[in-house]
């Protein structure tokens, strides 16, 4: 199988979640997906842009899609659900004949040729498929209890994302199962972790993320699997803050699905960036025989 698509790493991929970017590239390579990073891509505007100006926000994202199209990519994938939401919103807006001129005015160029967008998770599930993953696994994740946490924006709003079930997504569950892990039915898989409230209102994060960790703990989760840089950060980096605020003593590693998938596919701890995580997953992985 050879799949070749455009790749949009997003700003977090070169900052807070380098290990997501790194493991995504490594996994895709293993699975025969060629990722062509868009030259000269720029920030999608993230959360701030669309709270200030919708057209500006659309233009920021549209620029990347137009660039991709110019470089011959019909489809672009991104690991970050927040980037995905922005890029998808932009592509939908520039499909609208009446809206497009506003964006074009800001960009000084026509936007009628633009690439479509999907998440790397969707690409792996729909285009690679579970059978191919099962075949490619060399180190099954057996004896590992994982809970997959999708966060609130990976599949929502459903009309925009058009992928998986908005209330009970199964994409990561399926991948983890294909890798041989025991997937726990995590009832809060689409609950908000507090998202970007970490800076302005820390108590919201400690409450919401605290609840997620609480339920995960009660299910005997050994590792939480995520697909969103912000979710990962709130659960991993802030686990200490959560513990201090709530008087708890959680110690649950929180990894990107691409990291575990990568290990199962035979990549090394170094290649999937395990050392970047705050709560160290290596003891559990070693215990489970994955490392």
């Amino acid at each position: 199988m050879s799949i070749s698509v455009g790749y949009y790493p997003g700003c977090s991929g070169s900052g807070t979640s380098v290990e997501y970017d790194k493991s995504t590239r490594a996994v895709c390579k293993k699975l025969g997906i060629e990722l062509n990073e868009i030259d000269d891509w720029s920030c999608c505007g993230s959360t701030p842009a669309h709270t200030v100006d919708h057209t500006l926000s659309a233009a920021l994202s549209a620029r990347n899609l137009v660039l991709a199209a110019k470089q011959g990519q019909e489809e672009v994938v991104t690991p970050c659900p927040s980037c995905l939401a922005n890029l998808r919103t932009a592509s939908r807006k520039i499909e609208d004949e009446n809206y497009r001129p506003k964006v074009e005015a800001l960009l000084d160029e026509p936007c009628d040729e633009a690439a479509s967008v999907a998440s790397t998770l969707q690409l792996i599930v729909e285009r690679v498929g579970m059978d191919a993953i099962k075949k490619a696994v060399v180190k099954p994740l057996k004896d590992l209890n994982v809970a997959c946490y999708y966060g609130c924006i990976m599949n929502r709003p459903p009309e925009l994302m058009q992928f998986d079930d908005p209330e009970n997504p199964m994409a990561m569950d399926d991948i983890m199962e294909a890798c041989g892990a025991t997937v726990l039915p995590f009832p809060l898989k689409v609950e908000c972790c507090g998202a970007a409230a970490g800076m302005p209102k820390k108590d919201i994060v400690t409450e919401l993320s605290g609840r997620l960790l609480d339920v995960a703990e009660s299910l005997n989760t050994e590792i939480i699997v995520t697909a969103c840089p912000l979710c990962q950060m709130n659960l991993d980096l802030r686990q200490g803050q959560v513990n201090r605020a709530n008087g708890t003593r959680y110690d649950i590693p929180v990894v990107y699905f691409t990291q575990l998938l990568g290990l199962a596919l035979g990549l090394s701890a170094e290649e999937v960036g395990l050392s970047k995580l705050v709560v160290d997953p290596t003891p559990r992985l070693r215990f489970a025989g994955v490392l």
């Binding site: 079930d165 009970n168 039915p185 009832p187 009660s218």
Partner: protein, 657 residues
């Protein structure tokens, strides 16, 4: 020919966007039209009298009424013509309401279109001939499909009036959903105590033949003379001999079958009588678990049965019945709550449906009426009810209100307090909809006397915490998020159409809405009739209904059947095909295309093969008329000449107003 044209204003329905006087005036220029007028309400008494007096005074031979859809009032105007001494088929209607005034706002253009329709109607009427109906016999037996409370009521009423009733029930026993319910709202009387005697009446009534475990396979024919085929499903028990003693159930070693009557909260044996009051009280084998039918060994029931009525070889049987009318009372199904993944339904044992809760509360249910949690058998102290699960929610394709859930939830909350006095109940609701007699008082009593806490807002998710469940929702009155820790959660699931409803509707040739509920002929004025003569409806097959309404409709449908059966002969519709024998070359292409098999081959006196239409079977669809290479077969009232006259009229130059 002398034609009169009556243009109706329909109040402002038509007159607001059509210049009715101008249409009437222009109609006067059409060939053969000798009288025109415009009236406020042509269908009213003065309006009809105006038609009658015009026929008499102007010596009219035919009438065109330009008004609403013929579906609405064609029969009314035909009767008016007859009262004035004209043949009823000398009427034509131009639909200038549904086809003109209701769909366009441009008055000049509407006026032109209205006149065009009148012009077509006049052209056709000029080619009309009086038609005469034949009389035929009525089979005075009625088929009732569905043995729930609506069907039971309809069957008993018809049977008491002296008519033979054939009741077909797809389950093993009649009683429907009502038989599963513990108590009814708002009187809190015992459901099976009021339904039970009626079920017994059905089984003992000399005029009622009951086929349980049966389904309608095919319905053919027409009002007064339907031929019905019923599939009697194999029960592997010879019901004629089964005494319902239950010896087989005691000894059956396979005890893992899903207990459908108890909504799956318990298991039952492979040979089973669903509940003690079942009618008919006969055992049946569910082949999915039966060791004999699956593996070929066991046969314990056959050994213990005192009347030797077990028959492992039994096959489905097809029975034929002749009836004159059909009453469909096929009820509803419960919404599949597992669609709401965020409620963990099907995943957490202590999230159950309202009907499962009824079985838990019911003294004849699997727990003997003790409310316990399915997970650990403990008595719950905090019960949370979630309303509108599969109702009023477009995201799951159920935008309609199921109507009875507000009331049954209030009842269940009240009963919970009766069963477990130290318990607390919470109800998450959207609005309380309790418009029936004594209903609102009841929901108030639940809150004020029984202390049930009503929280206004939808539940967003349910997730486990330890042994309990956290129910998270919004309190839209307080404007906050609320979380309640519950021991047991009861989902008030809404109603949806019965699974096979559309297929059955097609067998009966009636319409159904986009949710699969059957459609009445008119939502206000013909609530239990359908557009197919002789087919009537009752109960929740029309949409969610509570018990009083279902019973009322059962009686109403029965009354309609009795009206039909009060005549010894019915009139056939003369709008059927007719063969002109001298033109017919006997190719029988028509017979090959007729979907109803209404054309037979005959030989005339000279020995030539000809086609002949069986009048009572012909549905007047007209397919044969376009097939005939000779134009020998013509649909009466829609002949080639009549249609061509319409087309010619339409092709004439258009007028300006």
């Amino acid at each position: 020919m002398r034609i009169g044209v009556f243009v109706c204003h329909c109040g402002s329905n038509i007159a607001a966007t059509v210049d009715c006087p101008a249409v009437a005036e222009q109609a006067g220029t059409l060939q053969d039209v000798v009288f025109t007028t415009d009236t406020m309400y042509t269908c009213s008494e003065p309006g009809q009298n105006e038609i009658i007096s015009a026929i008499k005074e102007q010596k009219l031979d035919g009438v065109v009424v330009a008004s609403c859809s013929p579906r609405m009032h064609e029969a009314t105007f035909r009767r008016a013509l007859e009262r004035a001494g004209l043949n009823r088929y000398m009427l034509e209607m131009a639909n200038i309401r549904e086809h003109v005034s209701w769909i366009g706002k441009n008055k000049p253009r509407n006026t032109i279109k209205a006149f065009e329709l009148v012009k077509i109607a006049v052209a056709k009427l000029r080619n009309n001939n009086p038609l005469h109906a034949n009389k035929f016999d009525v089979t005075k037996r009625v088929l009732v499909i569905g043995g729930g409370v609506a069907g039971i009521q309809a069957a008993l009423d018809c049977a008491d009036a002296g008519y033979q009733v054939v009741m077909v029930e797809r389950e093993q026993s009649i009683g429907g959903k009502m038989a599963k319910i513990d108590k009814t709202f708002p009187t809190v009387d015992c459901s099976s105590c009021i339904l039970g005697p009626k079920m017994v009446d059905v089984s003992q009534h000399e005029n009622i033949t009951l086929y349980a475990m049966s389904e309608v396979e095919k319905i053919e024919g027409y009002v007064g003379n339907f031929d019905v085929q019923v599939r009697k499903k194999a029960t592997y028990v010879n019901w004629a001999d089964c005494t319902g003693c239950g010896a087989c159930m005691e000894k059956c070693p396979s005890k893992k079958n899903v207990d459908k009557f108890n909504e799956g909260i318990s298991k039952c044996t492979s040979i089973n009588i669903p509940f003690p009051q079942a009618i008919p009280k006969k055992a049946a084998i569910d082949p999915s678990g039966c060791l004999m039918l699956q593996k070929g060994k066991c046969g314990v029931c056959a050994k213990v049965c005192p009347t030797k009525c077990i028959d492992f070889e039994q096959k489905d049987e097809i029975l034929s019945e002749k009836v004159g009318a059909v009453i469909a009372a096929t009820g509803y199904d419960m919404f599949d709550h597992s669609v709401y993944k965020q409620y963990g339904a099907g995943q957490y044992p202590d999230v159950i449906t309202s009907l499962q809760y009824e079985r838990l509360m019911n003294a004849s249910g699997p727990t003997g009426g003790h409310i316990v949690r399915p997970s650990d058998g403990k008595e719950p102290k905090k019960v949370v009810f979630v309303q509108c699960v599969g109702s009023r929610d477009p995201s799951v394709g159920r935008p309609y209100c199921s109507g009875f859930c507000c009331m049954y939830t209030a009842k269940q909350a009240v009963l919970t307090k009766d069963h477990i006095p130290d318990s607390d109940s919470y109800v998450f609701y959207m609005d309380i909809r309790s418009p029936g007699k004594g209903y609102d008082e009841f929901t108030r009593r639940a809150q004020e006397q029984y202390g049930v806490q009503y929280v206004r807002g939808r539940v967003s998710m349910i997730y486990p915490k330890g042994d309990n469940l956290i129910v998270r929702g919004a309190d839209t009155l307080a404007g906050t998020q609320v979380e309640v820790e519950a021991d047991l959660v009861v989902l008030a699931v809404g109603a949806e159409s019965a699974k096979n409803a559309p297929a059955l509707a097609e067998k009966m040739r009636i319409s159904y809405d986009s949710y699969g509920f059957f459609m009445e002929a008119h939502p206000k004025l013909k609530p239990v009739e359908t557009n197919t003569a002789g087919v009537y409806l009752a109960g929740s097959c029309l949409g969610p209904r509570d018990i009083p309404t279902s019973v009322g409709q059962g009686s109403a449908a029965a009354a309609k059947v009795m009206t039909l059966f009060s005549k010894d002969k019915l009139e056939s519709d003369p709008q059927v095909s007719k063969v002109n024998a001298s033109r017919c070359v006997g190719c029988l292409k028509c017979a090959a295309t007729c979907p109803f098999g209404a054309i037979k081959e005959v030989t005339d006196r000279a020995g030539n093969v000809k086609a002949e239409v069986i009048e009572t079977v012909c549905q007047g669809c007209g397919i044969c008329t376009v097939t005939c290479p000779q134009g020998a077969i013509q649909l009466q009232h829609f002949t080639d000449n009549q249609i061509l006259a319409e087309v010619n009229a339409l092709c004439q130059a258009q007028l300006d107003f």
